[in-house]
Symmetry: C2
Subunit: 174 residues, 2 copies
Amino acid sequence: MTIDIDYFDLSGPDGLKAAFRNHATGIAVVTAADSELNPIGFTASSVTSLGSTPPLISLNISQGASSYPHISTGKLVAVHTLDAQLLSLAQKLAGPKGDRFLADDFEIGPESVPIFTEASSVMMARVINKIEVESNAVVILALESAHVTRICEQPLVYFQRGYHTIGDRLQDNF
Amino acid sequence: MTIDIDYFDLSGPDGLKAAFRNHATGIAVVTAADSELNPIGFTASSVTSLGSTPPLISLNISQGASSYPHISTGKLVAVHTLDAQLLSLAQKLAGPKGDRFLADDFEIGPESVPIFTEASSVMMARVINKIEVESNAVVILALESAHVTRICEQPLVYFQRGYHTIGDRLQDNF
């Protein structure tokens, strides 16, 4: 049997959004220091491994994001993986930029990068390339070092426009 | 308080892997036709939206993957989102390449692209750029059309080196 092009009845922004609602993503928080060494950061659902030898990370960001000018080539960035118990941190770093670093819940790390030590892991990575595509960008980072606070059992997962925990383990893949 | 660089006690491939085990990802299946119009495809944990206006998708792939030569600029590709009930499809498309298209579980779509109609959604997208970074590549695709088979309630999620279902909904984010 063959499938006609008419089968694909959605297109444009609505088509993309409808399909991606069916796709789960992990939630991370990305931080850096701006040119005056003030903390900046944002919640990201696009943090992905780009191979481990050498260890690389990719993430997508809108060029319109307030953090975008500060995620420049050569900049050191902290990528935090989040447990479900850190939902409020994810929400805060996705909220108004003036509210993101008001609380006393972060420390200052290498090159003035703010570090949320409650994160299940933190990867320190340097921006090595930024590929602008339309109004967005793919940022490529080289891992320099990492800290794993604990083996996460309940990661924060985004799906169908909401935050979730993880469910049953179906199958190992060692 | 400040955090010393010694706090980040991991590095290299092991550091990246340890941190990413704490991070959940959605599982997708990506397919295309090779130059002889035979079906090729693979399971991907890196499929990500790259903005909706215009609708773009990114995914990461190893240059050593058997599918890599066929995911070339201009090629039409199908990106399938998977429910947890499609675990066996994810495993098959991550297994030996000779076994991936033996069964009668796919149809032939536009430009000979194989389509798994059991997927919760299928996005038809064209490769517009491929950025090679070390031994991997970031592939940028422009969405052309999409089909949503159903509103997925149980996506297939990868975490701590295993396949999972989704858990409790913690918070809407409309």
